[in-house]
Symmetry: C2
Subunit: 263 residues, 2 copies
């Protein structure tokens, strides 16, 4: 990422008092630049967002971009926050925490689906912009009033979002591998099966062979992102349920004894 302070000013540019400036007016706006960059990334991936390509799309010289944005890293920061700002904000407060959290997960997954290049960006610790802020506020609502203290609330949300990002990244990795090798999973397997069969005999790897081929047959591929997401989300929510719906005990150990935290 880029220089944090400079990025902060950029992110909050709309809320910031814009003092009158001396020189000529800018032909474009930061927002327009960011939107063009997002469109470019959506269409051709993050690698296609080069300063030259973006400038060409906007009809300006490459170096003119630097009057809008300090550098490529900061541009990407703003792209991310812009997307966050545009996420849906429903009001599903009436239902149970589980469906609320599920909705949060789905919305985030949808964002990764719509903008696959997000998988190439560090979304865990982006600079704190207005979009991120509003997103955080909104998503925390899903966990309000379920009996978690503030620290646990934050940790739980981080946990859910981390899972969604992780599965989105796995899906993106698979997509990239498929694109690169120019063949689908079936063709890949056909090409490499002979070699693999000779290498990975079921005697050396009995469980791996059994489980691996079972999973492969079930999904029609070595890895099924949709199934991994559906499976994982259930586990994530069940895991949080064990924390939230733990039998009320004002003090003392819960059903299971407390567990030491490993290194």
């Amino acid at each position: 990422m880029g220089d944090p302070t400079r990025t902060l000013e950029l992110l909050w540019r709309d809320s910031l008092p814009s003092q009158a400036k001396r020189g000529p007016k800018q032909a474009l706006t930061v927002t327009a630049v960011v939107e063009a960059a997002v469109a470019l990334a959506d269409a051709q991936g993050l690698d296609a967002v080069t300063m030259r390509a973006l400038a060409g799309k906007l009809g300006i010289a490459p170096m003119a971009l630097y009057t809008y944005v300090p550098g490529r890293a900061e541009l990407i920061d703003v792209m991310l926050d812009t997307l966050y700002a545009g996420m849906p904000r429903r009001k599903p407060k009436g239902r149970d925490w589980r469906s609320r959290l599920e909705a949060v997960a789905h919305d985030n997954r949808a964002l990764f689906t719509r903008h696959p290049w997000l998988a190439d960006v560090s979304t865990t610790r982006p600079p704190l912009g207005p979009g991120q802020m509003a997103k955080y506020e909104y998503e925390l609502q899903a966990l309000e009033g379920v009996g978690l203290d503030d620290v646990a609330q934050d940790a739980a949300l981080t946990f859910v979002l981390g899972f969604v990002e992780s599965s989105a990244r796995a899906a993106s990795d698979q997509r990239a591998a498929r694109l690169e090798s120019q063949m689908d999973d079936g063709a890949w397997w056909e090409t490499n099966a002979p070699l693999l069969a000779r290498m990975s005999d079921p005697e050396r790897y009995p469980i791996a062979s059994r489980v691996g081929s079972a999973a492969g047959k079930a999904h029609g591929a070595a890895y099924d992102p949709d199934h991994a997401y559906a499976f994982g989300l259930e586990r994530v929510l069940d895991g949080l349920a064990a924390l939230i719906e733990r039998p009320r005990a004002p003090r003392g150990p819960a059903r299971r004894p407390a567990r030491k935290r490993g290194a």
Copy 2:
């Protein structure tokens, strides 16, 4: 990553029948190249593993590397598989599945700690090398005999490993941000607090302000990777427990009705 078939041959190079070759013998071995690359990545990060730098370290010309490895992408594939091959393989079969899985998670986390550049690599779907294979076989043992069918066994392991990678990546992102901004969390906060205070008033973002500052105070930073890992791992295991230790019911719905899989 690189060309799959060529990479496979490279990965299984030790098990493959090496037919006698015509020309002069190679001065180095693929293994030596890979080990040097790992050392370089450990010391200075994955970006520092340039073909020129690696060649310099090995005392050969940059282009000579291409006689050992088809390209940089394939080199990284082999680096990853080499690390997998060297992971510890204990025999904790006696204990319960939970501590077995916990050990698997810890071992993987330790690998990310020892080699932080792994966070920059797609570890979810690497080419199937001997290291990956042995790792898969070993880690599946933790889930043998707990009553999961083969497909669920694979999904459960993927789930656990995905979590570990996700938290490792978050930790790595934070480390990178710290390095780049040249200041620790305290200094960053001091610098940017005035700006942030003006932007993010607690009236617009009440929950975020409350929870965010509580989490910040508890960890002494905006994000605590160790806590996120400890918290998350408990949830991961609890979530799997809900699947594994589900009350035996030969057929029909479990305690909760089956859930539809979202898009």
